[in-house]
């Protein structure tokens, strides 16, 4: 992802967090850390950027209880750690930082989730990205297959040209965690659109059926809720190559959320939505209507599914008519269906019938 700040600015922004605590202590008050509320209650549509961003609601974490005081201490240790990395030109993974915190005494993390969340908190407070902090995820990006060519800077510092159809095996081109221009260049393509696919099973089915060539598209495997780098490369292909992006996922509440994070931005990363969200992405299916229209084998919604759907009804990202209708239809049906339930009509049904019909509606086939 693009560096939003130079090292000096990053350090300064981080030191402001420290300064907030120090000043409070000096005044004889309880140290605090102020950050935006990170729930759906505090995301709003940014007209200029066309994505959902955090609103103005702030929450204050103060040192009046043991738990949050420890959190402040951890933040200080993290700032020190980032300072040192910047000064020494090093970087580390989030997991490495979690283990390094073993030496932070009372400030050590008890789970990696804690350290990941705090890293995100600092990103948001300082309007930086974790790359600015020299922190990288160990999550790997997705796989891509299709007639598109990418230039990637390899470990030896040489640019390597890779065609995601001719130069790769069946598993496709693996997207690295950094997909910014200094690492990845989009060279050329001969396709009409990008299809992002939720499950590996369906991704492999389409490849086996030669769907990418027949329908002139690039296939991207999302691996469930997509990593930052996956969303970022989708956005770059969409913007730089001007290619439409369609999302093909399961027909359940969680797939809706996957689409939401691709098209509008995720709640957890709303501070960097403008880097990650592909506003023009379209949800292809499986829709609630498809379950009925194609008479798909469906499972009953669980109580957790229903809860998730109801929560989506009040999620600003799903406030438009299309989504309200889809969510309500699914609630009324009480059913959900997997992508692979299309196999009911045979292995080729998805590539011969379902996708051409759905893409036809969008004018892509």
């Amino acid at each position: 992802m693009s560096r939003t700040r130079n090292d000096g600015e990053t350090k300064q922004a981080l030191h402001q967090v420290v300064d907030e605590m120090y000043t409070k202590l000096q005044k004889g008050e309880t140290p605090t850390m102020t950050l935006p509320v990170r729930t759906k209650l505090n995301i709003g549509f940014d007209k200029n950027l066309g994505v959902y961003k955090y609103g103005k609601k702030k929450s204050t974490r103060d040192a009046s209880s043991l738990g949050s005081a420890k959190n402040l201490l951890r933040a200080l240790h993290m700032v020190e750690f980032i300072d040192e990395m910047i000064d020494n030109g090093k970087s580390s993974t989030l997991r490495e930082m979690y283990y390094i915190s073993e030496g932070w005494g009372h400030g050590k993390f008890s789970t990696q989730n804690e350290s990941n969340n705090l890293a995100e908190d600092l990103e948001i407070i300082t309007s930086s990205m974790r790359e600015d902090f020299r922190l990288r995820p160990e999550e790997d990006g997705s796989r891509i297959i299709g007639n598109l060519t990418i230039n990637e800077l390899n470990r030896r510092g040489e640019w390597m040209k890779i065609n995601a159809r001719d130069d790769v095996g069946d598993s496709g081109y693996g997207v690295p965690y950094n997909v910014e221009k200094e690492k990845i260049q989009l060279v050329e393509h001969d396709i009409d659109f990008i299809m992002a696919i939720e499950t590996g099973g369906m991704f492999d089915r389409l490849i086996e059926n030669g769907f990418d060539e027949e329908f002139r598209c690039g296939l991207v495997h999302l691996k469930g809720q997509p990593a930052r780098s996956t969303r970022r490369i989708l956005k770059r292909m969409n913007e730089e190559w001007n290619l439409p992006v369609v999302v093909f996922a399961d027909g359940d509440p969680w797939s809706f959320r996957i689409f939401g994070s691709i098209a509008y931005g995720a709640i957890k990363t709303a501070h960097i939505s403008e880097y990650l969200a592909t506003q023009s992405a379209t949800y292809l299916g499986v829709t609630a209507d498809d379950i009925v229209a194609y008479d798909l084998p469906a499972d009953d919604l669980t109580s957790r599914d229903i809860e998730a759907l109801k929560s989506e009804l009040s999620d600003p990202r799903f406030s438009d008519g299309y989504w309200q209708e889809q969510i309500n239809t699914m609630l009324k049906l009480g059913k959900k269906a997997e992508q692979q339930s299309l196999a009911k009509y045979g292995l080729d049904f998805v590539t011969d019938t379902y996708l051409p019909e759905k893409l036809g509606e969008l004018g892509l086939a």
């Binding site: 420290v18 120090y22 004889g28 008050e29 040192a63 009046s64 402040l72 020190e80």
Partner: protein, 691 residues
């Protein structure tokens, strides 16, 4: 030996083998792991009983050796410092079924499990062909005697082989008196909840006056287990007295036998002489109810007359039987026993007053320990005892288990599905039933039979433990809250200040004002610990005023005054609020100030006092202490003065009138009517009326 003799002997052998085979389940030899436990049990029970009778503090050691190269063979060596057995009695003690007088007397006894030590001798001989080695020393003789014993299966009695006299010394000291048994049997050594270690551990809990050692040597000759449960008290259990049967607990056969054996000429005097709790008036009433003449000759009663006599016995009211025949362990000793054997954070115990059910006196004792290293995600461990004997089998079918299962433990902080059944949690629950007549479900004597009275009594006792546990947990929670605050201001906040200053390259700010703001409370930090060097219990309480206002308090702490503890090194002085409660009026504490109260407790042993409760008088809340409830304090004061009164009176009564009424009645009344009426009058009224 002639062929005929051999055959006869073989037949007898077969008969005895058959006897064992048929009855092994209640003899305790039905499985190989159980056989060794039964053998240990018989040996230990005998030792404890002998020591108790001879008023000797028992030192018992058990050693088990795996016999190398033999499949499932163990050698058992049991040693005690009991009175020993005179040379001429050895054959009888070890060789006769049901030897001894305990069988007929009505009093609390460990009771015979199976057929006693004879069974062990027999079992060893039958399974390995080996004789049992016995060494005995009595105080009045200068040498010990050692014999090898076998059972003559034809005559069904013990036979002595090589008998010798010798000087018995252990660790270069001559043994004054004691008994040693060594025997080899087919058996299997096991670990776990039904093991010798568990059995001895449980035995040690309910026999806190005994030193018990255990060694296990494996087939490679290595010492694999070496345990020592040290005695927690030097006072022996009070000697138990035999009592006459009570008419409410009599059975037909017993009554017939008593009538047959009686010398009395009149039925009324028979009843008065042979039963407890029968006054002249009551004896007359029985005769009237049974439509029998007062002067009917007991020996000549016909069966239907005995029947109506028995029925009358169950319908007429009598004085309760005396309960001084019971020997409870007493709650403080259970507490000691429990805390020395199981590592825990909290122990609560209770001994209820004796009660009577169908003419049998009984008494319930319970204990609960919580925390420590006990697993939190498993069922609590149950320790069941009847007359100081651990019950290790048939847990599910036992009244003691059912009583525990019937309590809704959820309200007291233990997990329990649906509010019944054995609860889950890091706890152990102990129930001891002491009675002159423990009813078991079967001859195996491993499960107590149902009895509504006893069950209710156990429940009452358990509920009280439950309440104590809940109180403890509440307190622990409060302490945890206070502890968090301390961690926050002592560790985290200074770390924040230091890190922030380093990062900004600025001086470390003063934290006092911030600390007051964060705490905004008065906090008491209290510790109770055992000081090894001085062998005293130490108590330290530190009171911090983290508010912006000056505060003044009186701090009160409980201490085990009644248990005979002595308060030492109490430099802050203070005064006695009531028995077991000391009060310190403190000077006004300014914002940010703190003060310390410290003292020691002498005359206690390690583990006697591990938790001190702290109370306060004052307007603002103190985290880490409870506000003193003045009403409860008043009640405590009244109760304490009554108890002192009671002790004085009980002594007087014991001296002047013996046998007037049971002590159970005294305790029952004092428990229930303490504040309402003087039990002394009641006691005399009853006594006079009934005499």
């Amino acid at each position: 030996m002639s062929i005929a003799e051999k055959m006869a002997s073989n037949q007898k052998q077969i008969a005895i083998s058959e006897f064992f085979e048929k009855n092994k389940h209640f003899l305790g030899f039905d499985t190989l792991p159980r056989a060794i436990i039964t053998a240990v049990k018989e040996a230990v029970d005998n030792s404890l009983d002998a020591c108790e009778e001879a008023r000797i503090l028992p030192d018992i050691s058990i050693e088990i050796q795996r016999v190398p190269k033999a499949k499932d063979q163990l050698i058992l060596i049991s040693k005690d410092n009991g009175p020993g057995i005179p040379q001429k009695s050895i054959e009888n003690v070890f060789g006769k079924l049901l030897y001894g007088s305990r069988f007929h007397a009505i009093r609390q006894s460990r009771g015979q499990q199976g057929i006693g030590i004879t069974g062990v001798v027999m079992y060893s001989q039958l399974t390995t062909g080996k004789q049992t080695y016995v060494k005995s020393k009595i105080a009045s003789e200068s040498t010990a005697v050692e014999v090898k014993l076998g059972i003559d299966t034809r005559k069904n009695k013990a036979v002595k082989y090589a008998q010798e006299r010798l000087i018995w010394s252990e660790n270069d000291t001559i043994v004054e008196h004691g008994l040693m048994i060594k025997t080899q049997m087919k058996a299997k050594f096991q670990r776990g909840s039904q093991s010798i270690v568990q059995y001895l551990k449980m035995t040690s809990i309910v026999n806190p006056h005994a030193n018990i050692r255990f060694k296990y040597i494996n087939s490679d000759g290595e010492l694999e287990i070496n345990e020592f449960w040290k005695r927690a008290t030097k006072s022996l259990p009070a000697p138990v007295k035999a009592i006459k049967p009570h008419p409410h607990g009599i059975h037909l056969g017993q009554l017939q036998r008593m009538l047959k054996d009686s010398d009395e000429r009149k039925l009324t005097s028979f009843l008065r002489q042979n039963f407890s709790g029968v006054s002249t008036r009551a004896a007359k009433e029985v005769c009237k109810t049974a439509s029998l003449s007062d002067s009917a000759k007991p020996k000549l009663l016909k069966t239907e007359q005995v029947n109506s006599l028995l029925e009358a016995c169950s319908n007429v009211k009598f004085l309760p039987p005396p309960t001084n025949c019971l020997s409870p362990i007493e709650d403080l000793l259970i507490k000691k026993g429990l805390s020395k054997t199981i590592d825990s954070k909290f122990v609560t115990t209770l001994t209820r007053s004796p009660r009577v059910t169908s003419g049998n006196p009984y008494q319930i004792e319970v204990g609960l320990i919580y925390g420590g290293k006990m697993p939190a995600d498993q069922q609590v461990q149950l320790l069941r005892f009847a007359n100081r004997v651990p019950l290790m089998y048939q847990q599910g079918g036992c009244l003691l288990t059912q009583s525990i299962s019937s309590v809704d433990w959820r309200q007291y902080g233990l997990e329990q599905a649906g509010g019944k059944g054995i609860p889950k949690g890091p706890a152990t629950i102990l129930v001891h039933l002491a009675s002159t007549n423990v009813q078991f479900t079967s001859e195996a004597k491993e499960a107590v039979a149902s009895n509504e009275d006893v069950m209710q009594e156990i429940r009452k006792a358990l509920l009280e433990l439950g309440r104590n546990l809940r109180r403890h947990m509440k307190k622990k929670k409060k302490m945890a809250k206070a502890q968090e605050k301390f961690d926050l201001i002592n560790d985290i906040l200074p770390a924040i200040a230091e890190k922030a200053s380093t990062l900004l390259k600025k001086p470390i700010p003063d934290l006092a004002a911030t600390i007051s703001k964060i705490m905004n409370a008065v906090i008491l930090e209290q510790k109770t610990w055992w000081d090894k060097d001085t062998k005293t219990t130490r108590i330290n309480a530190k009171l911090f005023n983290y508010t912006s206002r000056a505060r003044s308090y009186t701090i009160l702490m409980n201490w085990p005054e009644k248990q005979g503890a002595k308060m030492i090194d109490n430099d802050r002085g203070g005064r006695k609020e009531t028995v077991g409660l000391w009060a310190w009026k403190l000077e006004t504490l300014q914002p940010g100030e703190n003060t310390v109260i410290e003292f020691g407790l002498d005359n206690l042993e390690k583990g006697d006092w591990t938790e001190t409760e702290v109370f306060y008088r004052g307007s603002a809340e103190v985290i880490g202490a409870s506000k003193l409830d003045e009403k409860i304090l008043e009640e405590m004061k009244i109760q304490n003065s009554n108890e002192i009164l009671k002790e004085m009176e009980v002594e007087e009564i014991d001296e002047t009138i013996s046998n007037v009424a049971s002590r159970a009645k005294v305790s029952n009344l004092t428990d229930e009517k303490l504040h309402k009426e003087s039990y002394q009058t009641t006691l005399f009224d009853r006594g006079e009326k009934d005499e």
